[in-house]
Symmetry: C2
Subunit: 261 residues, 2 copies
């Protein structure tokens, strides 16, 4: 058998990278349930070329884009507003599973050892909204050389039926729980832009960019750029926001887009 020995794999799996492929990257946001085939294939090629998996531990998360948000909105479900309708839960989840299947297939086609992980099956929210995301499955899969691929989803929420969990929220929970060494958000924009539309190189506090990122310009039940920046600032590890052009650089451990420390 070729490949790293189990000892190497375990050592590296303790500090993987967490990469989010934004819903605006992998789907056509304005067309219901439409995969952005070209963008997705480009992202998959970058991951395949970087040799992710094995001793280069990576967890991928993708957003819902035109798969999840459409159904979530139709049923009035958000991160805080729940549903007790099992058909609504199944519908939102099934749409996200279809997108996840497309992402996993695209990654597999480029040799990435991708395996699907469905948040509905593993995560839950307590009464106060606090997320429980047990990581036995993801951590073990990583340790065995696989690349777990999670997605925005609907999860059971104590007292509210089921609510939405966003890809961004998963990224933060995974980065903390897996002690990731870096986090990347591959989005439709090359980074955080200031009020003049120029890319910001580094963000160390929210106030510095609050005016520029104060509102998201797309309907998104899971929050826009402001929420992303605030959540990433709260992490102990560096995070980067970049677009597809800079994905190879991020995977190579180089500077990409806006760095949030």
């Amino acid at each position: 058998m070729t490949g790293p020995d189990p000892g190497d794999r375990k050592a590296s799996a303790s500090d993987p990278a967490v990469l989010k492929l934004g819903g605006s990257v992998v789907t056509e946001k304005d067309a219901p349930e439409t995969v952005a085939e070209g963008h997705l294939a480009r992202a998959a090629r970058a991951l395949g070329a970087a040799g992710t998996g094995g001793d280069r531990g990576l967890v991928v998360v993708h957003g819902g884009g035109s798969f999840g948000h459409h159904h979530a909105s139709a049923h009035g479900v958000s991160r805080t507003s729940g549903t007790r309708d099992p058909a609504a839960v199944r519908e939102v989840h099934a749409a996200m599973r279809r997108l996840n299947g497309a992402v996993v297939d695209a990654l597999a086609a480029e040799g990435v050892p991708a395996v699907p992980v469905a948040p509905l099956s593993v995560a839950a929210r307590a009464d106060d909204g606090a997320l429980a995301l047990p990581l036995e499955s993801t951590r073990t899969a990583l340790g065995e050389g696989f690349v777990p691929v999670l997605h925005g989803d609907v999860v059971a929420h104590e007292g509210r039926g089921a609510t939405i969990i966003s890809g961004d929220e998963l990224v933060v929970a995974l980065a903390r729980g897996l002690a990731a060494d870096r986090v990347g958000l591959c989005s439709a924009v090359p980074g955080v832009l200031d009020e003049d539309g120029e890319g910001v190189e580094t963000i160390r506090e929210f106030e510095a960019v609050a005016d520029a990122v104060g509102a998201s310009d797309a309907t998104d039940v899971t929050g826009g750029m402001a929420a992303k920046v605030e959540e990433l600032l709260a992490l102990d590890v560096p995070a980067s926001i970049f677009d597809l052009d800079s994905l190879p650089a991020f995977l190579a451990g180089e500077r990409a887009g806006t760095r949030i420390e």
Copy 2:
């Protein structure tokens, strides 16, 4: 909104029933990837009529039958023999997801508030084969009135890539972890049969039936009747093995088939 109030639901969710629908019940075991539509519909009608979910907490597990075993055998994967081939993991898992989709849809059509739970996403095995099955998602879904539907699957296994988790193994882990008040295995036979082919009413120790259940007559990577009986005897709660004729009785809390104490 009709239905029990949240207080009732929470109280009952702490002692749900765990029901396994055997692979030999929900699939045509001899035909690859073929759902036993008639049997599945009959089981779903029984669950729908019993008013499961809500204050009558129920977790459903189904076996792999002709969906899982076929692919697992083709890739040489069992409970102890693993695979490091991500395509094998995806293939076994996808087959089981297709069966799970059919089961969830059939239950939903009869008004059962079924939601899917995929073991690959939540479970893992340690080096020594010990199963970790965190129950936050299943317990919260139960508490909110849903009926989680799990299935035999492939899971990451420390040091071996990925191995099979059987429906029977899930039943035992769920019964323990959720403090279930009773366990039912709905199989193709009306109960455990003695050496004369007569149904055994009650089993309290393995030796009493060892000769009769010593071997399973079907190829099954996850163990036959002997393994089932041994695992159920180790539980603190009563378990029953019965066929579709007795499913309504089990759901009503009555005696069904062979009782294992």
